[in-house]
Amino acid sequence: MDQFTLNLLVVGATFALYIGIAIWARAGSTAEFYAAGRGVHPVLNGMATGADWMSAASFISMAGIIAFGGYDTSAYLMGWTGGYVLLAMLLAPYLRKFGKFTVPEFIGDRFYSQTARTVAVICLITASLTYVIGQMTGVGVAFSRFLEVDKATGLYIGAAMVFMYAVLGGMKGITYTQVAQYVVLIIAYTIPAVFISLNLTGNALPPLGLFSEAKSTGMPILETLNGMMHELGFGSYTDQKDTTLNMFLFTVSLMIGTAGLPHVIVRFFTVPTVKDARSSAGWALVFIALLYLTAPAVGAMARMNLISTFYPNGLDGAALSLAEIETGTDAKGNNVTWVKNWEQTGLLKFDDKNGDGLIQYVASKDANELDVNRDIMVLANPEIAQLPGWVIALVAAGGLAAALSTAAGLLMAISSAVSHDLIKSQINPGISEKGELMAARVSMGVAIAIATYLGLNPPGFAAQTVALAFGLAAASIFPALMMGIFSKRINNKGAVAGMVAGLLVTVVYIFLHKGWFFIPDTNSFSDADPLLLSIKSTSFGSVGALINFVVAYVVSNATEDTPAEIQELVESIRVPKGAGAAVDH
């Protein structure tokens, strides 16, 4: 069986499974559509949150970015896990106690203002849409290679898949589908990592393999890799190249963005009790950590294998030749067909600048003849490491599971914000349950169309686009939620002013560096030489959050105190006692 048929079979089988589950668990009422009747066990909820959380950015993109960025990219690892500590301690239990369906609902009630609710909807949609664009980038990359179609067609197929099961299933369908997706994606991520770790170090556990000795040199893997990179003129893999300021702010931004992203928070509305909300965050992180502890090993080992592939005769010997790429076999008899396969997608490029018939991969921009898109590293990894065909197909299925599950969760958050927080509560309170469901589905469709369109020209690699979404959530939603719970003094005016200031400043900073509305070539600055100090657009969310906190505090203290009933509301969400089922209003 050829690779293409194998890919189709494995990807097709997993999709049939997800859609089957979505149909089986089809939502009947609005309560089920949004929050699954709160009947989800913490461990299952943790797994579903894991699938929801680990998107194309974590699965497809992150290890590739680590492979090329080394130590500096640790911000992704710490940021996307450390946020769960904040979620578990600062938000989840209280929002569960509050007992409503959506994040804007909490902000609207706590700040007793429809304006606050509308502003929260706008923040939510801005962050979620940016996030979905990143997912669409990942879906496009995965399909373009594995179904051997061009990137645009891959995007359209992926968009149609997401729309189908998100619309059919609602939250409950998504919860069980996502449990299945978690299982598929974690198997797909760890199996190749185990193989590669065994090959390179003899240690079957990749997180330990990363700190073990390489079979080839007898020195630790990281020391071996540092040596290889030095010889090719790259800096040391384990050295810090970024400024401490940017790395610090980037990590802050990813962490508080994690705690402010509506599609993750909504997960904690679906557990039965406040107690479960706390442990659900822990279970989610257990399942997430399985991938995040593996990712740094995947990154470092993929970089090693990539270098070895292009220097089959050692770093001092002849580099991989054009003839070897053409025939798909190098001088040592290794299969290198993946180079040509990925070149066809346009995501890997080589150019024999010096005309010697060999492809030199070096740090110097003028002499380097190889350009590898970060987003292909994880998907190409099993091919680079000469693993069997079924592993390659499995990774394809896992990557798609990661991208589609997160996109579906985000679309749920967007559609419930529009139908529940805008239409039902403000525009047309008399809307029927059927009408509300219809509005939710239509807004989902519109969101997919916009994200697909913008996904054709994404502002960065999948994980970088997603990092921007975290910055937006960090600057707008997280501060409002946290202040709403931990301060009784923050009033409606303070919260609205804070959210607007945080979001606006961050959006403008991002657009100045990434182009207005992400349209290419409309940017005035670049992340290589950013506007403020060394703060890249992906790190700016933490500055936006600080502005949000300060503005909200100053405005609140300059205006009237919060009403007594709101102070009581805050007191009641701080204690678990009396948490009931969710109420609609």
């Binding site: 690892l77 710490m78 500590v85 301690m89 384990t238 990590t251 678990p576």
Partner: protein, 85 residues
């Protein structure tokens, strides 16, 4: 609803716990992983230094412990102050 004074005491105990846990959270990620890494560079581990390990693995393990420890501590406080569901 529990009476007001016990709710307040419960909340203060909770905030105290959160502060302590956030200090550990900060020191093990931003501290050891980023800001204090140069100070830890003398401690070698698997071809690199302790700061690198904290940045790529250690911090994640600490986060896991923190969340479950917080959940356990709060379950105990819920009972102590009589505010459990």
């Amino acid at each position: 609803m529990a009476d007001k004074s016990s709710s307040n005491a419960y909340w203060q105990a909770n905030v105290k716990t959160i502060k302590l846990f956030l200090v550990i959270w900060f020191v093990c990620s931003f501290g050891f992983g980023i800001l204090l890494r140069p100070m830890l560079s003398g401690i070698a581990i698997g071809g690199t230094d302790l700061g690198f390990w904290f940045a790529q693995q250690g911090s994640i393990l600490v986060f896991l412990v923190l969340i479950f420890a917080y959940a356990a501590r709060m379950n105990k406080l819920d009972k102590e102050y009589g505010v459990e569901e």
